[in-house]
């Protein structure tokens, strides 16, 4: 059983190596002549006005929070979906009750305007 996960681990390591190796090669083969103008953050040729880590729209938080809710819901659906044939109508009906509650929440956030961007 765990035998199957060894190639996966190795594959992830190869993936990391495939990312690190070109960076190292690029550093070795490319020129390296830093100066202060080259190293300043790009802002259309101006000096940077202020720190780039500025305030941003609260909607991004909202999207992140809603994402967690729905992603958890999907995580609950995964095991149910695999065994639906075995658990039959009872399993189907119980999941529909669960989904109905979530849909009420979804309609609420929709009506509240949480999904609006303008």
């Amino acid at each position: 059983m765990l035998d199957n996960y060894f190639p996966v681990l190795l594959f992830i390591l190869v993936g990391v190596a495939a990312g690190v190796a070109p960076l190292v090669l690029g550093r070795l083969l490319g020129p390296h002549r830093p100066d202060s103008a080259k190293l300043s953050p790009y802002e259309c040729g101006f000096e940077a006005f202020e720190n780039a880590r500025m305030k941003f729209d609260v909607r991004y938080y909202l999207v992140a929070i809603l994402f967690i809710l729905f992603d958890l819901e999907i995580a609950f659906l995964f095991p149910w979906a695999i065994v639906l044939k075995e658990i039959g109508t009872f399993g189907f009906v119980s999941m529909m009750v669960f989904l109905a509650i979530l849909v009420v929440g979804f309609i609420y956030e929709w009506m509240k305007g949480a999904l609006e961007w303008e």
Binding site: F11, I12, G19, P41, L77, F78
Partner: protein, 355 residues
Amino acid sequence: MMELLQTIEQTGQGLLGPLWLPLWTLIKIVVVVAPIMGSVAYLTLAERKILGFMQVRPGPNRVGYWGLLQPLADGIKLLLKEIIIPSSSNKFLFISAPVLALAPALAAWAVVPFGDGMQVSNLNAGLLYILAMTSLGVYGIIIAGWASNSKYAFLGALRSAAQIVSYELAMGFALVSVLLVAQSMNLGDIVRGQQGNYGLFGWYFIPLFPVFVVYFIAGVAETNRAPFDLAEDEATIVAGFHTEYSGMGFALFFLAEYANMILIAALASVMFLGGWLNPFHGWPVLGGLTDWVPGLLWMLGKMSVMLFLFLWFRATFPRYRYDQLMRLGWKVFIPLTLVWVVVIAAWMQTPFWLW
């Protein structure tokens, strides 16, 4: 073929003992990763050629015959460029972000079956593993945007993260309906579940057609491709999250994006288009004529068709506005896939279920 592999495996085992397994796995991984890197390189050429032809111009045609050496020239150029690390950036995060973007994009390939049994690892939780790996890709983008300490990179990363996260939900629901039909998370079993005597009529794209469409469009949005490429909208935020990257740092983001595109194409083929199966299997005349074609070729052919769609979209559609993008994800795709999960589950309770 299979006998040859078995002989190699036995002699290797005899010669190296416990060291053989890691070595053999490593060989398999290289056999998967090297063609992916090659495909990424030539996908960029294909993209430029196809875009060129669609816009009635020849595309790259100077470097090598028909521009065939263009990807090599691009690669060498990027390799020889200076890697600039902005003075106000968080250096460690800045360097690790491209690696974080590329590593999961490659690692997800561990479970993709290219033919019957042709996969590096036959995981029973294959689909879950793919979902986990593709979700990690967003870290590379948001870390790149944060570490750059540049306004454009920051805005691009925020947009991109919110977009990827939104479309991942639609994608997740699409996967749930595939699981419902296939009753397995093992990608090989999902393909075998589509086997039958009716060829392409047994594939899951027929009962799951709306989900198939949503999955593919969500895949385009996940990989930040046109028309959903707001994260690198050059008209408003320069190049988005990779504004500050140069040389190989930029190349890695590029590689990750294209590797993800090919992965989406491979997954769409496996889950909806019968993976390595012959579309005409069991048909009167065509079936007999095409059954000798190896499964690997069918798989690659299906992937190529899906990849062509990616390029076609880019040539055809204008870029979405951000509010339209979020509306499509949250108000169209999520309700649609959710309803289809319920429809499929209910359909499976009736005796009219055919797949």
